[in-house]
């Protein structure tokens, strides 16, 4: 090696698939220099796509500016712009895509459309050191058990209806709880569950490798409205039941794929009880337990930037005319040339 330091390359990633607008900056070698997130929190009810998109449009310039300040680089230092191209909510995705296209054409640098689900897995791998894990990806919009096999990530199991995070959120709203910045519904339910002791029987639905949370959610919501049980016990029972379901499916995938690592990623990965369950499973199968750090568990721009780096350095770029958002882009449709075939 010569003493001269090679010029570092940077990628900026934009995440806007749901209620968070995030901008991250990473180097091509995988250092995260900035990861700024602005969360949209509706007063009541769930995410309204149009309202969330409006939030994104309003927050964009501020979040971008903060990301540049934090990372200490200038726009002209960037080599590539990555954005979350799907899956997600149309109006939200389109807002992020518009910002990404504008930056890419203004700076005259390439654009890379990134699959949001793949990004959750890739940032989990980068941050936890996992190389080839069986992954449980659980968030407000997704509940997926995936692993790499023959050139692609394959889905081994998923939810047949609502996502795990969504189930917890809706339950919390039905229970009359309110979320705050820094204290989302999932964290509130987790805190209450820590004080719960009594296990209330709730529907447990695993169909092969898939899970279903709709029956569980309805039952839990009805019970909580009746007020027969303590809220702490309800939260506890909901968590125990729902987490056991995803854990069972994860264990099945792990046994089937015989991977040596288990990765827990996505917003619900921040839950300590779920972490402890998956950790036990990993240990029993002599696999390493890996979990994404909280900062990168929720939707964030850094995961998009990093996945953009992986794609771009392996010859993938998205011409503007092909940069339309893909609302239902499944992760097994994505080419992942950065992973060498196992």
């Amino acid at each position: 090696m010569t003493g001269k330091k090679a010029k570092e390359h940077y990628c900026l990633g934009i995440e806007s698939s749901a209620d968070d607008f995030g901008v991250g900056v990473t180097t091509f070698s995988g250092n995260v220099l900035a990861n700024v997130i602005s969360a949209h929190m509706p007063e009541k009810g769930g995410i309204h796509p149009r309202e969330a998109a409006r939030h994104h449009a309003e927050a964009a310039s501020k979040v971008l500016e903060e990301a540049f300040t934090k990372s200490g680089i200038r726009p002209q230092d960037l080599s590539v712009i990555a954005f979350s191209q799907g899956p997600g909510l149309g109006p939200c995705l389109r807002t992020g895509a518009t910002v990404a296209r504008a930056l890419s054409s203004y700076l005259n640098i390439p654009l890379v459309g990134v699959n949001h689900c793949i990004a959750h897995i890739e940032i989990g791998k980068l941050k936890s050191g996992a190389k080839d894990p069986a992954t449980l990806y659980v968030s407000g919009g997704n509940t997926i058990v995936a692993a790499f096999d023959s050139g692609r990530y394959r889905v081994f199991g998923e939810t047949l209806d609502v996502a795990l995070g969504n189930c917890l959120d809706v339950f919390a709203r039905e229970a009359g709880l309110h979320q705050k910045v820094g204290m989302p519904f999932g964290a509130i339910v987790e805190k209450l569950a820590e004080k719960g002791k009594r296990l209330i029987p709730l529907p447990y639905t695993v169909k092969g490798m898939d899970t279903s949370f709709s029956g569980l959610l309805t039952a839990a919501a009805n019970l909580v409205k009746k007020g027969e049980y303590k809220l702490e016990d309800m939260c506890y029972s909901l968590q125990e039941t729902a987490f056991s379901m995803v854990s069972e499916v994860t264990e099945r995938a792990l046994a089937h794929t015989e991977k040596k690592e288990v990765l827990l990623t996505g917003g619900v990965a921040a839950n300590k009880r779920l972490q402890s369950m998956i950790k036990i499973i990993a240990e029993e199968h002599e696999a390493q337990f890996c979990v994404v750090p909280s900062e990168f568990a929720i939707d964030n721009g850094a995961m998009i930037a990093w996945t953009g780096v992986l794609a771009y350095t392996n010859g993938i770029a998205t011409p503007i005319e092909e940069s339309f958002v893909k609302l239902r882009w499944r992760l097994e449709e994505v080419e992942v040339p950065w992973i060498k075939c196992s």
Partner: protein
């Protein structure tokens, strides 16, 4: 008790090969899962240990080879059953020539047809749960997630799982395999039922998240 040889540590249960009254048997033991709450764990294990042998017996009556049940020990969540000497269809599909693959899948379709005809849903129709013995009989094992159900929905979910299992494990020839499965299935349940199950599978797939067919490409 003779020595127990752990032959498969599955996600749900451990399988031991041992001898029981001088027969080679499999002991399927549902060990407690430490990650689950003990009450929930016991409830799930007891339920599955009781129901699985019942379904296996019914399947056998329906003409679908399953291991013979010798003993059910609910308290220890253990089922003692016949050991089937043979090869997993999961391994075979990738090894055999195309015609044989087609025949295997055709036969599997027939067997699934017989299960469904008799109101049995297997619940985990993957090729690792099918064993071909030396006489060419295909045994279905692991009914732990099965149920008694005659509804179209349950039949659709059962076969859609099979389709997905083929796609994730044998994606190179998943399509031809599933076609053969459905052909065998049709042979038992008739064209009309097979058609409505196929339509149901399509409906279930569209219900899934981010399905290509349901995808509307949005252009800004």
């Amino acid at each position: 008790m003779d020595k127990m040889l752990l032959i498969k540590k599955g996600a749900e249960a451990s399988l031991y090969l041992t001898e029981w009254h001088s027969r080679k048997v499999i002991m399927k033991k549902r060990l407690p899962k430490k990650y689950r709450h003990p009450d929930l764990d016991e409830q799930i294990r007891t339920y599955r240990t009781n129901h699985e042998p019942q379904l296996m017996h019914e399947a056998k009556k329906a003409g679908v080879p399953t291991p013979t049940i010798f003993l059910v020990d609910t308290r220890n969540a253990t089922i003692t059953m016949q050991f089937i000497e043979g090869k997993q269809v999961k391994q075979l599909l990738g090894e055999v020539p195309q015609t044989q693959r087609q025949n295997l899948c055709l036969k599997i379709g027939e067997l699934v047809g017989r299960l469904h005809e008799n109101g049995i849903i297997h619940g985990d129709l993957t090729t690792s749960n099918m064993i071909l013995d030396a006489e060419g009989k295909i045994f279905f094992v692991d009914f732990g997630l099965g149920e008694k159900n005659k509804e179209l929905e349950a039949r659709g979910v059962d076969l859609q799982l099979m389709k997905r299992a083929l796609q994730s494990t044998h994606f190179r020839f998943a399509e031809e395999c599933f076609e053969a499965v459905m052909k065998g299935y049709l042979g038992v349940l008739g064209a009309e039922t097979a058609k409505s199950v196929l339509d149901k599978i399509k409906e279930i797939e569209k219900r899934g998240r981010y399905v290509a067919e349901r995808k509307r490409v949005m252009v800004d």
